[in-house]
């Protein structure tokens, strides 16, 4: 009987130890890792056959920098990222859940009394999360200490009790790096202001500017360009739109391309809308990233293409350079659901390696 009891005891302990070891095996889960494999898509269509061989990494986007009052957008999402590369370019395919297709960025709406009103609904920080656009961003480390560990959060500086770095500030937070000379490459896809009109992602970067007197966007800056961007479509009297699309069908993308604009003539009825931004394609380094974007079934799918190495004079500090294909490159992903600055992001960084 003693022998039987001993066996049972041993078996019981074994179960406990086995459970313990099973738990231990998941103790050090790997960071997010993405392999970029060799391949050239024929087009930037997400369904291009070249993507079949690319491995994907799934990244939960569960963090937000603040809670806008009355925000109805998503508080979390999931990003699925793939990558290809060839001798000249890197291709990134980013797909993420976003249940709503948002392309009405502060449009003008004709009122019953014949006047025009530009729709805006600023939150407690002065940013719009109601009449805005969908956006996404990739943050690529260039030389910022701590990025590999903390990801995008390394450049995130939340405003506390109305102050940011000693300056009075109403925004929820600002982007800037912690040390002079540190920069991060920001691939900022803005649906209405360049993404859908020009198949383009705005190539920007973040540096250590932490004084709004030096730059009103603090550390967030656009890459060098001669032209490109957007302006508010408003007349001199600020009572209505200044321009409209030559072809009303173009209103579908929520903006007016500069080359398509015609002076505003009011032949509209109450409830009709005119896009808020007039947009111009980025040239120069700011226009480095070609992007095809499609929203379907509650998901955005973006396919981005950029030269492995960019060569404009300031690109070394403004662009990540994929010049050594044996080196790991670290980046982060964020998605903005109809939101000016609120976004969902992930903990840590994603490591990209070329295979």
């Amino acid at each position: 009987m003693k022998g039987f009891s001993h066996k049972i005891s041993t078996a019981g302990l074994s179960v406990v130890m086995a459970s313990t070891m099973l738990l231990a095996s998941s103790a050090f889960a790997a960071d997010y890792k993405l392999e970029s494999v060799k391949g050239t898509p024929a087009t930037l269509d997400a369904g291009d056959a070249a993507w079949a061989k690319a491995k994907e990494v799934t990244v939960p986007l569960t963090e937000t920098p603040y809670k806008p009052e009355g925000y109805k957008g998503m508080a979390k999402s999931t990003a699925v990222v793939k990558s290809l590369y060839d001798d000249k370019n890197i291709y990134i395919k980013l797909q993420y859940e976003d249940p709503t297709y948002s392309v009405e960025r502060q449009p003008w709406v004709k009122q019953e009394d014949g006047s025009w009103k530009q729709l805006k609904a600023p939150d407690q920080t002065g940013h719009d999360n109601t009449y805005y656009e969908d956006k996404a961003a990739l943050f690529w480390n260039i030389n910022t200490k701590g990025f590999e560990k903390k990801g995008c959060a390394i450049a995130c500086h939340i405003t506390k009790e109305g102050m940011n770095n000693g300056f009075s500030d109403t925004s929820a937070g600002r982007k800037y790096t912690n040390n002079a000379g540190e920069t991060i490459d920001m691939w900022h896809w803005k649906g209405v202001r360049g993404g859908l009109p020009f198949n383009q992602t705005h190539d920007q970067y973040v540096d250590s500017t932490n004084d709004p007197k030096l730059n009103k966007e603090w550390g967030r800056k656009g890459d060098a360009q001669e032209k490109g961007g957007y302006k508010n479509n408003i007349n001199e009297a600020k009572t209505g739109p200044a321009f409209m699309n030559k072809d009303p069908k173009d209103n579908a993308i929520g903006s007016i391309k500069d080359e398509n604009k015609v002076p505003f003539v009011d032949t509209f009825k109450a409830g009709d809308k005119i896009p808020g931004p007039i947009v111009t394609k980025h040239n120069g380094s700011a226009g480095d990233i070609e992007t095809n974007a499609v929203w379907k079934d509650g998901k955005w799918t973006l396919v981005m293409k950029r030269a492995l190495v960019t060569t404009a004079p300031k690109d070394v500090e403004q662009d990540v350079q994929f010049s050594d294909l044996k080196k790991p490159y670290f980046f982060g992903v964020a998605a903005f659901d109809n939101s000016q600055i609120n976004h969902v992001f992930h903990d840590g960084s994603i490591e990209l390696r070329f295979k």
């Binding site: 039987f4 302990l13 406990v16 313990t20 738990l23 231990a24 103790a27 903390k150 959060a153």
Partner: protein, 235 residues
């Protein structure tokens, strides 16, 4: 009288209780490991060094080395903050400026009264020098110790007496029963005792490791042995 003489419903209740205890004990070790290692998942058996950080260092430094490690930009930042505290936590000088910058960059985005980040901890703000100073005392404070000690001692003794009584009525040798019962209570007492005094006698962290292990081991072993014994037919 032995535990084997109980009726089936009583044996069932005891068995289920013990399974709860085993699960809870393993869970507590997992939780401790996560807090001390800064990992997000899995079982991480605490190391002496991690225990030393928790019980002998200022809580802000201990957190930067443990549960908050992933938020720290660079390992050297932990030394900077620790050196500032060791030098008296003065509100002036380069050491203060460096430490303050690190705390604001690495901690205060979430540790702020007004933070709305998804992981904000407004109840533990680092917005002011005075607020940070409350986390610079080495080891457990009298207040924290009294709180931790009474919660743990009331809780642990309550289920230990139940397990011990069950184990006392098994059919194992009296010496085995006595040793394991003493080990569990003794381990728990010396473990908690060492939490407090290790800030005065750093070597006591070894006692925390050993006695914590002894307590957990005794509880698990007694639970498993009772389970093995209770369903055995009387000899």
């Amino acid at each position: 009288m032995s535990i084997q003489q109980l009726n089936t419903p009583a044996k069932t209740a005891i068995s289920l209780f013990l399974l709860f205890v085993i699960t809870a004990t393993i869970s507590s070790v997992i939780l401790l490991g996560l807090e001390l290692s800064g990992q997000k998942e899995g079982l991480n058996i605490p190391t002496i060094s991690q225990i030393q950080n928790k019980y002998t260092m200022p809580s802000i430094v201990s957190a930067m080395k443990g549960s908050m490690y992933k938020e720290v930009t660079d390992d050297s930042d932990i030394d900077t903050v620790h050196n500032w505290i060791k030098e008296g936590s003065k509100k002036e000088g380069k050491l203060y400026e460096d430490a303050w910058k690190i705390i604001q960059n690495d901690c205060a985005n979430c540790h702020s009264k007004t933070s709305k980040m998804s992981r904000a901890i407004p109840s533990m703000p680092f917005d002011t020098y005075e607020q940070v100073m409350t986390h610079t005392e080495a080891g457990y404070s009298w207040s924290k110790m009294s709180k931790q000690a009474h919660i743990h001692m009331f809780g642990i003794s309550t289920f230990l007496i139940l397990i011990s009584l069950m184990f006392a009525y098994t059919t194992y040798k009296e010496s085995v029963r006595s040793v394991l019962i003493l080990s569990s209570f003794g381990g728990a007492f010396l473990d908690i005792f060492s939490w407090w005094f290790s800030k005065f006698v750093p070597e006591l962290v070894y006692l925390i490791f050993a006695m914590g292990g002894l307590m957990v081991g005794s509880i698990l072993l007694m639970s498993v042995l009772v389970l093995a014994n209770i369903w055995k037919k009387e000899g």
